[in-house]
Amino acid sequence: MTADPRPERHTTVWRWLGPLLLFFVAKQLLLVFFFAPFTGHDEVDHFDYVRRLAAGDGLGVVGEVSLNPDLAPWQDYVADFPHNAEVIQPPLYHLLMVPLAWVSPWEAADEVVLIRLASALFGTGVIALTVAIALRFWPARPDIAAGAAVFIALQPQFGFEAAIVNHDMLLIFWVTLAVLLMLPTPDGLPRTDRRTLVVAVVVGAGIWTKTSALFALPVLALGVLWGLFNQVDSRNRVLRHLVILVGVAVALATPWFLRSLWLYGDPTGVTRLSRVSDYGDSASTLPAMIQSVPFWRGRFEDFWGNFGWRLIPLEPATYRVIALLWAVCGVGLAVVVYRSLRSQRAAGAAGWGMLSTYLPAIVLLAWIASFVAAMLAVGTVQFTQARFLFPAMPAIAILSAVGASGLVPTNWRRGVPAVLAMVMVAINLWIFLQAVVPFYTGSGGPTVLTR
């Protein structure tokens, strides 16, 4: 009988993950203070929503809830001033932040920093969960797990999201946790009902945080089907787990959907949100978005830049450098797929056997596709942004790490995460020196909108 290697592996993973998480926390501590108060997207509204719940004023209705007058200095950062449009969102994130609002004795500009710290905490959790997912897929490749963790920890917009008051980071956390729990366990045993029930509860929590958590369901369903592909689960068991997953998650969220249906005429309230000026005017159609090069260029720019309510884009040359470096990861990914297909063919693999080899890649691609669909769906009713794709950030990070490792010889792979870290630190420093710090600082006040 051999000793269980997992505790030892966990110890070695923590040796690099621990410092990385601490580095991320330190970076986020600086960012939560540096980004001028309320300059995150919808930050004024989300902050007001938290204070509203803390004061016991209830959920409120869009168009009827006005922002607290002490937030008026930041009115240019509010989409529907003087109203709070974010009360259309489910309240779980805001409820979780209520204790912070209760203990805070400070003015709004300091109180917002306290609540921002929670986003940094959720971001830290997302990095740790991403590492767990990568190691579940490829246990013998710590370089992929480390590369993915580095990618997320230093992705500039992820860092921005994890430094503002917004429910997005909690949503990313729930989705990542649900995917991890839905993957087959290392022991290869069939999935238990209780585990699927836990995943459904996590998805329910996700929907109570932001209704776009619904877009995680196809990926999670794929996780259930994995058992069928690997011949661990029978067809009936898979069907039962799918019913538990979707049924329980939707049942948990039903009260919120019914409330929105009652108040706004649709279960998510998006049609009401599209009536907010500047929101609905930017709506488009699916074919128009999909076929538009400027649309995808805009989403690429959102994904990496456009800090501070999209007011701080990066320079065209900076975007080009990032695109070039990311394209290198894409080429590496293509090389990995080509090599893998060739070796599978040489081994005579076909059918289910071949499919099971590619299940990790299929899950990751489905994860990305689901939230690209979410981003496009938002675009049909209001203006859309790449941050709606961020719940798939772990999948993007893992595939980028696979691609980065794919171009180097096997015995050099262990250095890839370190090189990736250095490149991304340099990119971050450049972005902040060239565009972000000068936007907030200098003569006349913290931002061009509040000067």
Binding site: R297, V425, A426, L433, A435, P438, T441, G444, V448
Partner: protein, 208 residues
């Protein structure tokens, strides 16, 4: 050769270069630029205002849009501080082939033309009017200025003081002290972990 040390050296050199060598920092503006075109009314103009938030304003990136193909546009660019009279404080002559400033820009193209001039030393907090004047051979040609970005050349480390001042202005002293202490503590612990893993003898995580 110790590749690990070489890599660290290259990285630190790049970081030091960014902090010590002069770079162009973009002035604070909504979406990064000053928009001059009015799309709602379909009006294109020949000038607009920029407000540098740093000294040594010495560069403009201009989004020109021309409407007549096959021409070379002779343009004089002027910069004048608002509220002053007399000659512009900076004038630059440009010769722009129409294919570089055509109104239809490719989706992935950089629409801006960069123009540099001698630094304006005390530009922070002032407002400047920037406008173009067509040359004799293009007097009747259509060329407009859709947006303007402005820059100052400075050293990266010079941004540290304004950034610290921003945090101090925005938050109470108690908060700032808390930030410094907690960040230092986290960095110290992270540094200790990292040093132990990276520079220890024997096999490392990635070797397992």
């Amino acid at each position: 050769m110790n590749w690990r040390l070489l890599l660290c050296g290259l990285f630190l050199t790049a970081i030091a270069g960014m902090l010590l060598l002069p770079i162009h920092v973009r002035h604070s503006a909504k979406y990064g630029f000053t928009k001059t075109v009015d799309f709602d009314r379909g009006i294109g103009v020949n000038g607009g205002y920029v407000s540098p938030n740093y000294d040594n304003f010495d560069r403009l990136d201009l989004d020109f849009r021309s409407y007549t193909p096959g021409q070379v546009y002779d343009v004089r660019l002027h910069v004048r501080e608002t509220g002053t009279v007399g000659e512009p404080i900076r004038t630059v002559s440009l010769s722009l082939p129409s294919d570089t400033v055509e109104h239809r820009k490719a989706p992935l193209a950089n629409p801006f033309t960069t123009v540099s001039f001698d630094p304006i030393p005390d530009s922070a907090g002032r407002i400047y009017y920037v406008w173009i004047e067509r040359g004799p051979r293009n007097r009747d040609a259509n060329i407009a200025l859709w947006s303007i970005k402005s820059y100052s050349r400075m050293h990266g480390y010079q941004l540290a003081k304004p950034a610290v001042n921003l945090v101090r202005e925005q938050h109470s002293a108690w908060f700032v002290q808390g930030l410094v202490i907690s960040t230092l503590a986290v960095c110290l612990v992270a540094g200790m972990f990292l040093a132990r893993e990276w520079f220890k003898d024997g096999p490392r995580d990635s070797d397992t």
